[in-house]
Structure formats: C-alpha cells, structure tokens
C-alpha cells in the first residue's frame, strides 16, 4: 500500500469514526433505545449517511474517469439469496441483544469504551464461525 493510499484510507476512517462518535452510536445504550422506539435519532444517522454516500456513489463515477489513487471504481457485490436474509435476521438478533454493530464496536474503543472489546472479540468469533461453516457446507462462496 502506497503512502498516499494509506493516508486516504486513514483519513476516511477518521471521518467515519468521528461521525460515529458525534452521533453517539459508540454508546450501545443509544442503539438500544432506538430499537425500543424511545429515540429515533438513528434514522437521522443512517439517512444522513446514505444521502451523502448516494451522491458520491452516483456522481463520482460520472464526474471522474477513475478514483484519484486507483484504476477503477468498485461496485458493491450484491445478491438476494437465502443467506442475505437469514444472515441479516441473525445479525439483527445480536444487534438487539448488545446494541453494537461492527463499526461502532471498533470506533468505541477509541473513546475509551473498553467493554466493547468483548463485543469485538465476539464479532471476530462469529465471523470465524461463519467462514468455518461455509468451508464445511458444499455451497458456493460469495
């Protein structure tokens, strides 16, 4: 990885993490109160993030022939199959149990939310279990 790419990625990550902290998503309590219909702020977080990202995803490839530091713009792989919905259902159960999703789990560590280390470890274990299971079942990889 070149220095320019390193700086680009880390600057983007800093914006992302700073935003997660400003939006108070690094507190699982805030996520849980959203899921319990007590505070709908997370709709604004997701809405705001989607609006900005939508503009970038839509107009950057039209205005620029290629990204500044790479050959081409990626397209997010996507498929509507059983795994997508089943996985999302399981993800939601975990989200409702702990109020943590992967981004805030990582970012929260930067704001001293050490208990989230347990969540990060849990997510890593869950991700490993998913890969292990995929290897054992004779289905195509994504």
């Amino acid at each position: 990885m070149t220095l320019a790419k390193f700086l680009a990625v880390i600057a983007s990550g800093i914006l992302f993490g700073f935003g997660l902290a400003v939006a108070s998503m690094i507190s699982p309590e805030v996520v849980l109160s959203f899921l319990r219909f007590r505070d709908f702020g997370l709709m604004l977080v997701m809405g705001g993030a989607v609006c900005v990202t939508l503009l970038a995803y839509r107009y950057a490839p039209r205005l620029l022939s290629r990204p500044w530091l790479e050959e081409q713009f990626s397209v997010r792989p996507s498929a509507l199959d059983r795994d997508t919905v089943l996985g999302a259902a399981i993800f939601g159960m975990g989200w409702g149990l702990c109020g943590v999703c992967p981004g805030p789990a990582i970012a929260g560590l930067g704001a001293g939310n050490w208990p989230l280390l347990v969540a990060v470890a849990g997510i890593a274990v869950g991700a490993y279990a998913q890969g292990w299971l995929q290897d054992r079942t004779p289905v195509r990889h994504h």
């Binding site: 790419k5 680009a8 990625v9 600057a11 983007s12 990550g13 800093i14 992302f16 993490g17 997660l20 902290a21 400003v22 998503m25 309590e29 319990r36 007590r38 702020g41 604004l44 977080v45 997701m46 705001g48 989607v50 900005v52 990202t53 939508l54 990204p67 500044w68 530091l69 790479e70 997010r76 996507s78 498929a79 199959d81 795994d83 919905v85 089943l86 996985g87 999302a88 399981i90 993800f91 939601g92 159960m93 975990g94 989200w95 409702g96 702990c98 109020g99 943590v100 999703c101 992967p102 789990a105 990582i106 930067g110 969540a119 997510i123 869950g126 991700a127 490993y128 890969g131 290897d135």
Partner: protein, 239 residues
Amino acid sequence: MRCLDGHIYPPAGQPGYFADSAYQVWRRPRWVYSIAELQLDREIDSPLTANLCRWPMVNDSHPGFPVSPTVMLPASKQNLRGKMTVSLFPLGWGHYLAGGLLIGAGVSLLFILTGWIGGMSTVFSSTWSYVSRRPFFQQPRFIETRAWRLVFALGLILGAALWWQWLGPVGGIRTSVPLWQLGAGGVLVGFGARLSNGCTSGHGICGLASFQWPSLMAVLTFMVTGFITANLVLFLGGH
C-alpha cells in the same frame, strides 16, 4: 456529581461542579454534547422518557440533597423546560444528523480517492486470512483488501479518539450493557453480518446508497429482528 454508572462529571478536583459543566455546554457548538449532558437533557426535557434514565444523579458535595438539574441548563434551553413532553428525539436531533453526514463523508471520501466500498463487517473476515489457512478466508476478495480494511478500522479508532479528546467527556464513554450481552450479541452480529455479507454500514449505508434491493431487504430484516430482540431482552429483565 456522580452518576450511578460510575462516571464522575465533571472530573473530581475541579472547582464549581455546575459552573464547569455549564461552561462545557456553552463552549461547544450547540449540537455537540457529551453523553453525560445528554443524559441530563433527557432527564430534564422529556418526562415521557424519564424512566429511561438508569443513571440517577447523586449530589456528592451535599449528600442527601437532590441534584438540581435547573442549574445545569444552558440559558438557551431554559424555555424548553416542561414543554417537550413527547418527542421522537428526546436527546435532540442535530448531533445525529451531523454524525450521519460525517459518516457519509468518510465513506464518500474513501470511494472518491480509492474507489473502494467502505462497509465495516468484512474486516472481521479478511483479518482472519492473516492467521487462518482455511480456504474460505484465503479467497482473493479477503486477501486483496485485508490491508486497507485494517487501516480503515484503525482510522475509526483514531476518529473516535479525536472526538474523545476534543469534545467528549474526560473519562471517556463506558457502556453499562452487561458483558455477557456484549459477548453473546457480538457472536451473533459477527456470524450474521458475514453470512449476510453486510452490516449496518455495509447494507445500511453502502448498499442502500447503491440502490441495491437485497440490501433494503437485509436492512428491513435486521431492523425487525433487532426491534423484537431488544424489546424481548427488556421484557425478560435484561439491560
């Protein structure tokens, strides 16, 4: 003043409990509050959600006397007292919107500079490729992206640390969700997000922003199961 979750706001040794806290509120842009202040706001502004507060305040300097939240209110908020009975956003909405726009800016910057799609769950699979020889983790899509995904994750930590140092409460944020919930929930989150190939950022932000129907289905699905589980946990006496 001490909250029952163990935090002390403002930090011990500083003169003038209330003066210091009020100073911090006024010093910041209107939409940035520390979590401690948000919880105070919640207690003051919204009687409807007062029962949400799991952190009743204790007056350390005058034990036995209740904390008077009125003193903590910045002047601009005095007129809100008692008026906000029902609110979709009992903690205010500005910081949510600002945070969302910043998150979007981060994902957008990554896309414009490198063309990469910045969902956050894949790093939990791609990083395993450093240590696991399993064919699943040795797929090119993990090997080729594992380095920048780790750097991106490091950026997230740095960004939140920047917020902590600049705007956050001195003691940092400390969740009071029990560890077993964090651990068990985390395993489900990791398994589910990777099976679904996306999480709240992957499906919720990148997927929706790409107008992908599968991501919309995934978002609706995890919202529903999340609502059910979170309320079930509350009903069964969890946090």
